[in-house]
């Protein structure tokens, strides 16, 4: 009891250096937890991007390139898949569903994806979760758009707004399709995947914004150009999503049974009329993460080094403090404190410092999560969960505390061997 009181008073007496030690520990705990959280969440965000899709088909290119462009909206594919090939392949036995997607347009830097209503029923992410609507519903007319949650948040759109889609990627595109505004009819719930950053329009509208008309609607479109028939033309479009472009970027497929996957994939890769490529997203996602794994390893290394440096910093401070405290310890010895009591005192002090440091570190960590979480979500696409400390994180903190405690035993041992004659002879 007296030892605890002495430790407390002595720590208070050395406020400045104790505060710095605390801060070092707190910051390293915060960094370790943050880096680890980013590492873990990056991995899960990544593998949660797509789920339940057996095969992605696009023009022949690299596996990873096809995955990046079709799922992550990164990069372009110059070639597409012709509508005939799409229909041919998806009519094969065993195909349960298919989602055609057409990319290449953007709205204020956000990707625009042309697709069919199947997208909203069959697209899955994370653990086979379906997309769901936060507000509104799927598009039912050619000039309607469904927004990903982040698009709606970031650009401040609400249901009923009219927006203009530009041709090509990037928000500096000069070629806006002012004549074809789209009406927001639905906003999806957040998924933590690229879907959040996507505007979904009917596939039939893709050719429309490119100045042309859906292949099977050429006549209607001509009508639309006459002012006096505008109302009529719009009415026509409203109930009509059956149009399709000549070409799509890629399509996703699900099969009756996974057993079909390899066979259909072989058929696609050997398809004569067009050079196509079918990839299994789960396999390619793993490959892609394998490439990124070096980043993961570096992050892990960083965490370890951060902790090591702060522990060494703590040891330095403790040892420096100890030589200053030699007199204090000697006084305690002279009033009757036994060596083991000094040992307990010093190790208790470092444990206390460590404990408070870890607590402050956790507080800083949550502060960082609250302030930095949305930034990470919007800039790196990593959805950060703000939750209680996980078992893994608690283990990390435990490891740090144990390491700190062990390091604290070094000065404690030195204190143990400080001789009593120290206290009797020091003359200051």
């Amino acid at each position: 009891m007296i030892l605890a009181k002495l430790a407390y008073k002595s720590l208070l007496n050395r406020k400045a250096s104790v505060f710095l030690t605390l801060l070092t520990i707190a910051i390293s705990v915060m960094l370790l937890l943050s880096i680890e959280r980013i590492r873990v969440d990056a991995k899960s965000s990544f593998s949660n991007t797509l789920s339940g899709t057996d095969l992605i088909v696009g023009a022949r290119t690299g596996d990873i390139q096809l995955l990046l462009s079709s799922v992550f909206r990164i990069g372009h594919t110059n070639n597409g898949v012709s509508w005939q090939s799409y229909e041919y392949i998806t009519n094969q036995r065993g195909v349960k569903w298919s989602i055609p997607i057409s990319l290449g347009d953007s709205h204020k830097g956000q990707a625009v994806l042309g697709t069919t209503l199947d997208y909203f029923t069959h697209y899955r992410f994370a653990k086979k979760q379906n997309l769901s609507f936060n507000k509104g519903h799927a598009f039912s007319a050619i000039n309607e758009v469904v927004l990903g949650s982040e698009v709606a948040n970031k650009l401040g759109y609400k249901l009923g707004d009219n927006i203009v889609i530009s041709h090509g990627m990037g928000n500096t595109s000069f070629h806006h399709h002012k004549d074809n505004p789209f009406k927001v009819v639905g906003i999806l719930n957040a998924t933590g995947t690229p879907v959040d950053k996507t505007l979904h329009i009917p596939l039939a509208a893709i050719d429309l914004i490119h100045g042309g008309a859906p292949a099977e609607h050429a006549e209607h479109a001509e009508h639309a150009e006459h002012a006096e028939h505008a109302e009529h033309a719009e009415h026509e479009k409203h109930n009509d999503l059956t149009g399709h472009p000549k070409q799509i970027t890629a399509f996703l497929m699900g099969f009756e049974s996974p057993l079909y996957t390899l066979q259909i994939r072989r058929n696609i890769n050997q398809y004569k009329k067009e050079a196509l490529l079918g990839i299994m997203p789960t396999v390619t996602l793993k490959e892609l993460w394998g490439i990124l794994a070096i980043v993961e390893k570096i992050l892990l290394l960083f965490s370890a080094v951060v902790v090591l440096v702060s522990l060494l910093g703590m040891l330095t401070t403790l040892l420096a403090n100890l030589s200053q405290r030699r007199r204090e310890l000697a006084i305690l010895r002279s009033v009757g404190a036994r060596p083991w009591q000094l040992f307990t005192l010093i190790s208790f002090e470092s444990l206390l410092t460590m404990f408070i440091g870890c607590l402050v570190g956790c507080a800083l960590y949550y502060l960082a999560l609250f302030t930095g979480g949305s930034y990470l979500q919007s800039h790196a696409g990593i959805s950060v969960n703000i939750a209680m400390l996980s078992y893994y994180e608690l283990t990390l903190i435990g490891v740090i505390m144990v390491a700190g405690f062990i390091i604290g035993l070094i000065p404690a041992t030195r204190a143990y061997f400080y001789s009593l004659s120290d206290g009797m002879s020091i003359k200051t």
Partner: protein, 229 residues
């Protein structure tokens, strides 16, 4: 018998030719107030470290309260010192982060027997510390002040109170008055005597200042003590 030294020699290092200290006999009775003096280098401090069991004699026996310190283990010597000896240092050795009261209480916090004795005197350790500080002439307004703001004389009173708390049988004072002027010296020593009487302690007072000699029951010149061989 409080202190009984027989044929003591002490060498700092085993290979030293001449022992630093050689005492054939020194006996101090219970309740005595002994003045131990001698010029610098005469071995005063060395003798005190032997009496307090900080160092052990190279040869010979040291009995304190009829216990042979040489036969005690390090740990037992620590316990013995904490229980039976109050030490007033030349340089006070107060802990800067404790108040005067807390510094005084510290004197009995590592010894159960002294704590018990202190609680026989007053209801709480706090009260006992207050009583001692008052008795030694430190008025209450200073009892909870920062130790560093106290004057040398005031710090000396705190150090003395710390040695006296729990009434140890032996009080060793190592040049405690060297920083005080003559008037203060005498009044301080008188307060020490009062306390020693109050707590039935034997007082061994070390100084090179022979003018204090008449105040004590007995005075021992360390030089002549060593020449008796």
């Amino acid at each position: 018998m409080m202190i009984d030294l027989k044929n003591i020699t002490f060498k700092w290092h085993k290979n030293d030719n001449k022992p630093t200290l050689t005492i054939s006999e020194l006996v101090i009775k219970k309740g005595e107030r002994v003045f131990l003096h001698g010029p610098s280098g005469s071995g005063k401090s060395t003798l005190l470290t032997l009496l307090a069991g900080i160092n052990t004699a190279t040869s010979g026996d040291i009995f304190i309260l009829n216990k042979n310190l040489n036969t005690l283990s390090n740990t037992n010597r620590d316990v013995f010192r904490a229980d039976h000896i109050g030490y007033i240092f030349q340089n006070f050795n107060l802990l800067p982060y404790l108040t005067p009261i807390e510094n005084v209480i510290l004197g009995c916090q590592f010894s159960k027997s002294r704590q018990k004795t202190a609680l026989k005197q007053s209801a709480t350790l706090n009260q006992e510390a207050t009583r001692l500080l008052n008795a030694l002439g430190l008025t209450e307004q200073y009892h909870k002040k920062d130790v560093a703001t106290l004057s040398v004389g005031q710090q000396q009173r705190v150090a003395a109170a710390r040695a006296f708390i729990g009434s140890p049988e032996l009080i060793i004072a190592d040049e405690p008055t060297s920083a005080l002027d003559t008037n203060n010296r005498e009044s301080f020593i008188k307060l020490l005597f009062e306390q020693a009487k109050h707590s039935n302690s034997t007082l061994v007072f070390v100084s090179h200042d022979e003018s204090l000699q008449p105040l004590f029951d007995r005075s021992i010149n360390l030089i002549s003590l060593q020449e008796n061989i």
